[in-house]
Symmetry: C2
Subunit: 317 residues, 2 copies
């Protein structure tokens, strides 16, 4: 399948070289207890230990560093109240350029604090999509900053693909590679890299049943936007991006669903057995796997734990 | 100072070779965020990632493996409802020998489950010291099993000392080494190894204010047993052992105290910034350090995170 508008394997390799000094090469962990429960061998790529606590540091760093110098100096902008906001603010601060983050006025104080901590300038808007978009437009017009979208953007996807590249460099011998899917930047980048790396490698996305637009879109063959998502996996509420859907259609083998109970159970298992802190979104692939063990029996499975930014006072257990 | 009844450096090196196949060489982690807050450089030795979730796996494995074969076959026994119980059961199961764990009838179900999961046989007793001791005596008499005490026992101390040995092999350039102190097996072993390794290396114990017998004993020059301990750091409730006190008197430079609030705050910091799960006891050294930053300013500090076995439904935040 020829998709020349997407990054090549070499592009992704160059992206990793580009961002390497500014991100963590995150460790891969295993748990014999979880392997015993799952009936297969699992390697976890720990992006919860990534800078800003999530894989988003990769895409943001790559996108900011690829800007031409004359654009860099004017800064970058986005609208987000999640990990991408903090990741973009951090990437900008590493280069010493301004970042403008449009956030709804009702965004949690902790999210604002993270962005401010990285030197990002927060511009408040009304808590609706229309206001976010017009406020962002105004900011971009006034400052000349470049808009860096959170997922549906080639340089961001190229950056997220470096996670799977590191994973397969360190653990080449996998049968299946799994990642959660929200906007699709991580899953799209993962699938693209896996396609180049080893066409036999099976790529599976995992999604909460309460925000299953990727699942539905994958099976319908066209994008079905998310309406009224409801899930504890707050990183996976958004609708699939167009570029990511294209990648998913071509290079993803399946998308699996997990219920809220299954997500919480998998999350608890990771805390208890692996002693690491993950956000609910990270638990979705393991939850989906445990819900259909027979499909994975005896396989060698790689799972990307996407992040670790969770409100500790609101853990679901 | 000549203390010939304690393990030598070579004894500890042999202990590490002995137990190496059965324990994890735990990683050392750092956090630039925590370094920024603390005003010094900290390396964390992550025994929360150790087998059975705590450093106790080391001492138990070492003690069991050093038994003569004719004693091994009869099994091992202890009274404990904490990490040592699980560690001993696991060490025995690795060798395929029986373990008998005396536990108070009101011990939490989760602790019993852990011991049973490793194939340990639980013998219930009344929840008081007298009943624990007589029940253990009966078990030993009946089975011929060897009693392996949780901390005041040379082979256990030798095993715990392998933690500091690994730490200093991987990160030799430290000014200060810190460990929590309850019964004193970890701190005693750490101080002994540090003494052999580099007599300039400062060793500091950390203890909850609500269970400060080691602090008081250290300053009084004789053991003052713990009465009515009250702290969230449930691994540090016990009184100091005699052998450990001897080591602490000779080789520990200071013992610092942390309040409950400081312990919880430090614990939260580790969860939030390092994205790892630790038990409250593990947070005590960082809590003590943060309470007197000026004393540590600019230093290179190693902290042993002793374990990660915590009831997730009862986190203090």
């Amino acid at each position: 399948m020829n998709m020349p508008h997407f990054p090549t394997l070499n592009d992704i390799r160059f992206a990793l070289i580009r961002i390497k000094p500014f991100i963590n090469r995150t460790p891969i962990m295993t748990s014999s207890a979880i392997n015993g429960i799952a009936g297969c061998e699992i390697w976890f790529k720990c992006e919860n230990f990534q800078k800003v606590g999530a894989f988003k540091a990769r895409g943001a760093a790559n996108a900011v560093m690829k800007l031409p110098d004359e654009d860099k100096v004017k800064g970058v902008a986005t609208h987000s109240s999640g990990n991408h906001a903090a990741a973009l603010a951090r990437a900008a601060s590493v280069l010493g350029i301004p970042s403008y983050i449009v956030m709804p006025s009702n965004a949690p104080e902790i999210k604002k604090k993270a962005v401010k901590g990285y030197g990002g300038e927060i511009i408040e808007c009304e808590p609706n999509l229309k206001s976010r978009e017009t406020t962002l437009e105004e900011v971009v017009k006034k400052t000349g900053a470049t808009f860096i979208p959170p997922y549906d953007y080639l340089d961001v996807i190229e950056g997220q693909a470096t996670c799977a590249l590191e994973f397969l460099e360190d653990q080449p011998n996998l049968d299946i590679l799994m990642a959660p899917v929200g906007g699709g930047g991580l899953l799209g980048g993962t699938a693209l890299l896996a396609h180049y790396w080893d066409s036999e490698l099976i790529v599976i996305g995992a999604e909460p049943a309460g925000a299953d637009d990727a699942y539905k879109s994958f099976h319908a063959g066209h994008i079905i936007p998310q309406t009224n998502p409801k899930t504890i996996a707050d990183g996976l509420l958004t609708s699939l991006g167009n570029l990511n859907f294209e990648l998913i259609q071509h290079y993803v083998d399946d998308i699996l669903i997990a219920t809220e109970d299954q997500i919480v159970e998998a999350m608890r298992l990771v805390y208890e057995r692996m002693k690491i802190v993950i956000e609910p979104s990270s638990a979705v692939p393991l939850a989906a796997l445990l819900a259909r063990k027979e499909q994975f029996a005896g396989k060698r499975v790689g799972i990307i734990l996407s992040g670790g930014n969770v409100d500790l006072s609101k853990l679901p257990f």
